[in-house]
Symmetry: C2
Subunit: 334 residues, 2 copies
DNA sequence: ATGAAAGCGCTAACAT
DNA sequence: ATGTTAGCGCTTTCAT
């Protein structure tokens, strides 16, 4: 298409009247080369429009400078955005260190995920950052000979580095805020309790209640599929038991809840207060704008990338566990 | 971490008492090997837990089986989802053909994009599918020696394969529907007219008006930054001129428009009707639910991948241009 | 039906 | 201050 065939380091060397070693060292700055020679080499590279072949480089140096990120990036509109923000954070760090990011989607399904890990295994990656879709799976035997950093979620018995959100503290804070406003019947809506994240959010909810001497009424707690319709249905069922506030631990489900409340003309926060997970644009345009928990998605990615780079530099350093704070953004829905 | 070091085809060959050639042929099915020998080889691969090194394979075979997708996947909540859906479509096809997908983000900025193309150039990719962020840039001289398929947008004078949405037809249909309902003062809100997509949408709007003998009033046409706030502002300015309907050619801007109308308690569709681009979940929970144009994102990806695979098989085939239909979903906002 | 061996483009140890 | 050269792990031509 564009220009000539396969210009290699050899062609450059010949054209510049130097050895391939010199060319390589000019490219990588790995040993002293006189200014004059450097100039000649650069000239030759320009003349021939040389482009390094990083496949050959990886094969030889046994380093790809590629980090993979495996997460359920396509699972839903919102989880998608969350993880893409994470990806942006990862990339911002990697770019500075001249690493590449490869995105892989797990579909939030074990089979897909397993497949992807296997594929990545043969692709020569220098590290894997992943948000596991399951807690129980034995990931260890799938991994190749590269460091792994868990992000957002952690499988049981992991002895790997991880970077997660402090879901419990912020959920507790949210519920406490509700309690502070006088609410006693606070409902809880979430997806199935299969992820560490969901579990922690629930734990925060329970702890806030119990510390305030309130009982966790089972009819006010409902978990179901993560979808708009499911949120709608659960809200409908829940409202029968007359909660004065609802805590929704998932953004898409929150859409369903708001849809229901709007449709039934149930006033927020007059008749029922609402707090939901995740700060996305739509939460600002509901009436009233929603009180939400904002997760540090980008920062999560930044930290994970930093941990990964540390680990690559030092395989024997002690395992790191980072827990980032989320933020409660109070708006008119409570 | 997991198991032993670098098991190569050589180790497998030795362990199975065959040549490396035979092992290679067993792996790739590239020539006849007796059942007995096959068995031995597979046994050896299992015993040693052999994993193919695809870097070496790529170097030797000059094929990476990797297709890159370069798009503004991180630019905003919604464009992000659109392009990730495209990516899902691409991947679904590539997977069947044992190709890998690498995602690259352009940030919708020329500099970033140029950078990424350069990086990809050295990564040995077999093809590039991209949504160019600019129409004017001379992409051709950035590309390496691989096929390129443009997606969603096309730079001027492109002679490459492309897969786009028929924006003009569907925009025209939307505006005609509005006209059919008796609207005469139909406003137009969009981002800057720099992309082929935006331009086509505008063209559809103009054509619908002109065919209906309506004048395109310049005070009813406003283009600005693509953001919620910008949409809000433009709606505010526009309402002074009393449109009876608004066509918003961007999803995020539509959020801003709806926010404004809600806040000012302007009734939709009573006082003003609204049609917007893109079917995302939030458009279903506004009051009233929005009439939107749904783009075939996934299908766009599927088609682009198919075109790419065709092109790889046959470099000299005539250039393909595919224009997929979008769909008007009529809901209560008009 | 299988093996031997060259070589993809690069890095890096060893020379000079 | 620079050059020579042996491989990294694989595919593939040429033999047998």
């Amino acid at each position: 298409m564009s220009d000539s065939k396969n210009i290699s380091i050899k062609d450059v060397a010949k054209h510049a009247n130097v050895s391939t070693a010199t060319v390589s060292h000019v490219i990588n700055g790995t040993r002293f080369v006189s200014e004059e020679t450097k100039r000649k080499v650069h000239q030759a590279m320009d003349d021939l429009n040389y482009r390094i072949n990083s496949v050959a480089r990886s094969l030889r140096s046994r380093k790809s400078h590629v980090i993979a990120f495996l997460a359920p990036i396509l699972a839903s509109e919102t989880s998608n955005y969350f993880f893409m923000s994470v990806a942006a954070g990862i990339q911002s760090v990697l770019k500075q260190h001249r690493y590449h990011l490869v995105l892989s989607d797990s579909h939030e399904e074990e089979e897909y995920e397993t497949d992807e890990i296997r594929m990545l295994g043969s692709q020569m990656i220098d590290g894997l950052i992943m948000a596991p879709s399951s807690r129980g799976l034995d990931y260890e035997r799938l991994f190749g000979d590269y460091p792994v950093v868990y992000l957002d979620r952690v499988p049981s018995d992991s002895e790997r580095d991880c970077v997660v959100v402090d879901n419990k503290t912020v959920s507790k804070e949210a519920v406490q805020t509700l309690i502070g406003k006088g609410h006693k019947r606070i409902a809880y809506i979430s997806g199935p309790n299969t992820l560490t994240t969901t579990e922690e959010r629930f734990a925060g909810y329970l702890e806030a209640l119990s510390e305030a001497g309130l009982e966790a009424a089972s009819e006010l707690i409902s978990m179901g599929e993560v979808s708009l319709n499911s949120g709608y249905k659960l809200a409908e069922t829940l409202m029968v038991h007359e909660p004065t506030a609802i805590f929704v631990s998932d953004n898409v489900m929150a859409m369903g809840v708001m849809f229901y409340l709007q449709e039934k003309q149930i006033h927020v926060p007059g008749q029922v207060a609402v707090v939901a997970y995740d700060e996305f644009q739509w939460t600002r345009i509901t009436s009233p704008p929603l009180t939400v928990i904002e997760q540090p998605a980008f920062e999560l990615g930044v930290k994970a990338a930093e941990v990964m780079l540390d680990r690559i530099d030092n395989a024997d350093a002690p395992v790191q566990e980072h827990r980032l704070n989320a933020k409660l953004i109070v708006r008119q829905s409570i």
